[in-house]
Amino acid sequence: MRLTVNGTEHTLDDLEPEMPLLWALRDVLGVHGPKYGCGIAECGACTVHIDGQAVRSCQVPVGDVWGDVTTIEGLGTPGAPHPVQAAWIEAQVAQCGYCQSGQIMQAASLLAEVPEPSDAEIDDAMSGNLCRCGTYPRIRAAVKAAARAMREGT
């Protein structure tokens, strides 16, 4: 099995193909950005991109991965954050922060598809990502700020 994660190709020969991508990332490859929160597609903490599209990595068997995987670590770095990450930093969204990798990956995928989302589109796209700390007001603000920044190319 071959798996490309954040631009690096890995060979995973000794793994059950039905192991969820989340656990292959976390326990086998040591990529800890995607988080385990529920394991049943109810919280979104495990969200990664496959070929740019947001997916719940707890639901994708590692043997079925159909494209390149990007995790929060590959989206941007502290020195060169993705515009969505920059907006999250500017708005100081995180409290415990545990949901935020997933929130950011979800928002980045939304804005790649819909550069100017309406409030309803933001609600629809982001409501599968649970935040127990209640950072929703700042998430809304940060998504809008990121959309603006991306349109203006800053």
Partner: protein
């Protein structure tokens, strides 16, 4: 009163202890200080200036002993130290302190004495001072009760000031300069000629310098950090996936583990068949633990799969198997024998209400999960000489002692490394996960084992928020509320929680009536009685503890009476309110929301108020009827914490507390069937989602005098404000949470 204050001041003495190769400074409160925990691992040439600051030849570290469970505790604590030390919190390291009695939490005792928090008279203050002694004795290095800021507000700044002045004295000695010509800035002492001496370069000399303990704290008008919007120290890491949590722990040679516990929490495992699990891929060991069984494997997923494959024979629950039994136990607790406290009893309520009650109602609040998004986990490496534990906990001292009891080692041989936690809301005041992980690690000496609970095991063994019931009566006359009688029955949270730590809790449990008996209203006939129900399912502190249920009961009964009187909900609360800061927050939400203005058909607004943890907090909630259900549209919230240390975090905690309070009031409940929790994951245990989140407008007031924390006070008023708004919009009184039992909500 003057005398009590003097004592409090004098007990904040700063002292020093000589240690090999250096000296340590500390802010001690009692005559016999504990040993300084930072001395144990101090390298040569390093000076631990206070228990809160460590400066070595190459690093400045601020030690922030209160756990960060998402509430911004590290940032706030670092800010308080840095304000006096003249360092940039973003430029220095921060770490949690090791478990030690020296970090006892003095602010917790504020909540343990039978005086209203608004009562700052001599007797109340003295009682709080007396309570400090047992708190210290227990060494409660506890994060909870919104105490981080009140506890550290003076200690941490004083620690920073002592460190700064001692560094200056060291520099003065080295360079033959008078101290009063030296300044400090950006982690350096500045000589009169402008030369900058980095604090690190002064560490060795500072270790040889007599501590400068006679420091004057800076005037708030000169503060550069406290009270200003600053960037949280962890915000970049948490926005780029770089923040490591307990669940991300990596140790060389680490194994992974999962657990199966008796669904009837606390009951025994009678027998098991692990033959299938043993043969599964990656499985190293199957280990029985009290009440269940664990699987050690080479990765978490394989361990969880194998744990599922074990066939278990479970003993039945020690509490009622189904909900009727729980509610019945509460209903039967409103008796003189079960009366736990009657701390408020004004006028003659019995006579006033004898056959004359205008309102006579019952309220209910369910068990609730804390369910922080990071499931419980702990990594333990056991060897006969030494045990290391990595975990996100609010009670490191309990963790250390309980693990030592299991391994049979001295507590000193158990090293607890506190990790950042992905939320808590009180969940990490429990340490069962550490005990389980310790049992597992002992089966593979020398090898670290990371135990991760599945979400189902975590939610199924929650130590949930207490279930509670209240009965309220009252009378109105001439457009006013004149008699108010509230009885509350719940099992004792504190007895359940402290019982698991083998700590006796004599006397009444104030949490049974917190958020109700202590409300700042003057009603001629006014009584609040607490009834201690028998122990049911094990319960634990949930964000705002007793007030999470009692704020709902107390304020909803008041609202019902106000409506019965035909009075305005805001006006009548203000008329009855006897406490200036509480009046101020009520007036603030009235003004912010334009209370009394015209509303559209199908709109309704409700007020909620609760004074908890010393903080008055008022909210106005606005709901709208849509064709498909009710929409929670807007919330205005105001609270007075005395002083806002970190305005960005203040707003976040206020909004988060409102979301927490509303979301659980709308949807949340844990129920038991056959002794097991029926909601095991977020599909059935529901809280607020983004689409349901109202606009939340926040205001902070700073008039109340004493500085207070803000993690919990926004929670209790949210549920009653919502119930009162739904009544205003629909005419329907909701007396049992969650409200979605009776009304539909739309996002």
């Amino acid at each position: 009163m003057g005398r009590a204050k003097t004592i409090a001041r004098r007990t904040f003495l700063v002292g020093s202890v000589a240690v090999a190769g250096g000296v340590a400074f500390g802010v001690w409160r009692m005559r016999t200080p504990y040993d300084n925990p930072l001395m144990a691992d101090l390298p040569e040439g390093a000076a631990a200036l206070t228990p809160y600051v460590r400066i070595t030849g190459d690093a400045i570290t601020l030690i922030t002993p209160r756990a960060d469970v998402g509430q911004g505790a590290v940032s706030v604590q670092a800010m308080l130290i840095a304000e006096e030390l003249d360092v940039d919190p973003a430029q220095v390291a921060t770490e949690f302190g090791p478990p030690d009695r020296a970090y006892w939490n003095t602010a917790l005792s504020d909540e343990a004495v039978p005086f209203r928090s608004t009562d700052q008279g001599w007797l109340a203050e003295s009682a709080r001072d007396v309570m400090d002694a047992p708190m210290k004795f227990l060494g409660m290095q506890i994060t909870g009760g919104s105490t981080t800021v009140p506890d550290g507000y003076e200690k941490l700044r004083r620690a920073g000031a002592v460190a700064r002045e001692t560094l200056k004295a060291a520099a003065a000695r080295l360079h033959g300069q008078p101290v009063d010509r030296l300044g400090t800035e950006g982690s350096a002492v500045i000589l009169p000629d402008g030369t900058r001496l980095r604090y690190e370069s002064l560490a060795a000399e500072a270790a040889r310098t007599e501590p400068v303990t006679d420091v004057v704290l800076r005037d708030p008008s000169t503060w550069r950090l406290v009270g200003q919007p600053v960037q949280r120290v962890d915000i970049v890491a948490k926005s780029t996936g770089r923040q490591a949590y307990g669940i991300d722990e990596e140790q060389p040679g680490m194994l992974h583990a999962a657990i199966r516990l008796n669904p009837a929490q606390g009951a025994a495992l009678r027998g098991l068949d692990a033959s299938e699990a043993k043969a599964m891929r990656g499985v190293r060991k199957i280990v029985e633990v009290p009440g269940g069984v664990g699987v050690i494997a080479d990765n978490t997923w394989r361990a969880m799969q194998a744990a599922q494959a074990i066939k278990c024979d479970w003993a039945p629950a020690p509490y009622p198997a189904g909900m009727e039994g729980h509610w019945q136990a509460l209903a039967e607790s409103f008796t003189p024998e079960r009366q736990d406290s009657r701390l408020r009893d004004e006028g003659d309520v019995e006579a006033a209400l004898d056959g004359a009650a205008d309102i006579d109602v019952e309220y209910r609040a369910p068990y609730l999960a804390h369910a922080p998004l990071e499931p419980l986990n702990t990594t333990v490496r056991y060897s006969p000489e030494r045990t290391d534990i990595w975990t996100g906990t609010q009670v490191p001292r309990f963790v250390q002692g309980n693990a030592a009891a299991i391994t049979g080692q001295d507590a000193d041989d158990v090293h607890v490394h506190v990790r950042v936690a992905g939320g808590s809301f009180g969940h990490r005041l429990e340490d069962a996960v550490v005990r389980h992980a310790t049992h597992l690690a002992m089966a593979v000496p020398g090898q670290p084992v990371k135990l991760t609970y599945s979400r189902e095991e975590d939610m199924g063994h929650e130590f949930p928020r207490q279930i509670a019931m209240a009965r309220g009566r009252g009378r109105v006359s001439g457009g006013r509320v004149v008699a108010y009688d509230l009885g509350i029955a719940m099992p004792s949270i504190i007895a359940s929680q402290m019982g698991r730590q083998a700590i006796p809790t004599p006397g009444p449990d104030l949490q049974i009536v917190a958020g109700a008996w202590d409300q700042p209203f003057a009603i001629p006939e006014y009584r609040v009685t607490g009834y201690r129900a028998p122990a049911l399912a094990p319960v634990s502190s949930w964000r705002s503890v007793g007030a999470s249920t009692n704020g709902f009961f107390h304020d909803c009964l008041l609202d019902e009476l106000i409506h019965a009187a035909g009075a305005d909900p805001l006006e009548e609360r203000l008329r009855l309110c006897s406490h200036a800061p509480s009046r101020a927050v009520l007036e603030a939400v009235g003004e912010m929301s334009g209370w009394g203005g015209a509303l559209n058909a199908g709109q309704g607004r409700g007020i909620g108020f609760c004074l908890s943890f010393g903080v008055p907090c008022a909210q106005v909630v606005e709901v709208r009827e849509t064709g498909d259900g009710l929409r929670v549209a807007r919330v205005w919230v105001a609270a007075d914490v005395g002083r806002i240390v970190d305005p960005v975090n203040f707003e976040a905690q206020m909004q988060g507390g409102v979301v927490w309070g509303l979301g659980h009031a709308m949807h949340g409940a844990l129920t038991y069937a056959d002794g097991a929790v029926e909601q095991q994951n977020f599909d059935t245990f529901r809280s607020m989602r983004l689409r349901e989140c109202p606009e939340i407008v926040v205001r902070g007031l700073e008039t109340a005098g004493k500085i207070r924390g803000i993690g919990e006070p926004p929670v209790p008023p949210a549920a009653p404000a919502l119930a009162n708004a739904i009544f205003a919009a629909t005419g329907q009184r909701l007396r049992e949470m969650p409200f979605d039992r009776e009304v539909a909500f739309v996002g």
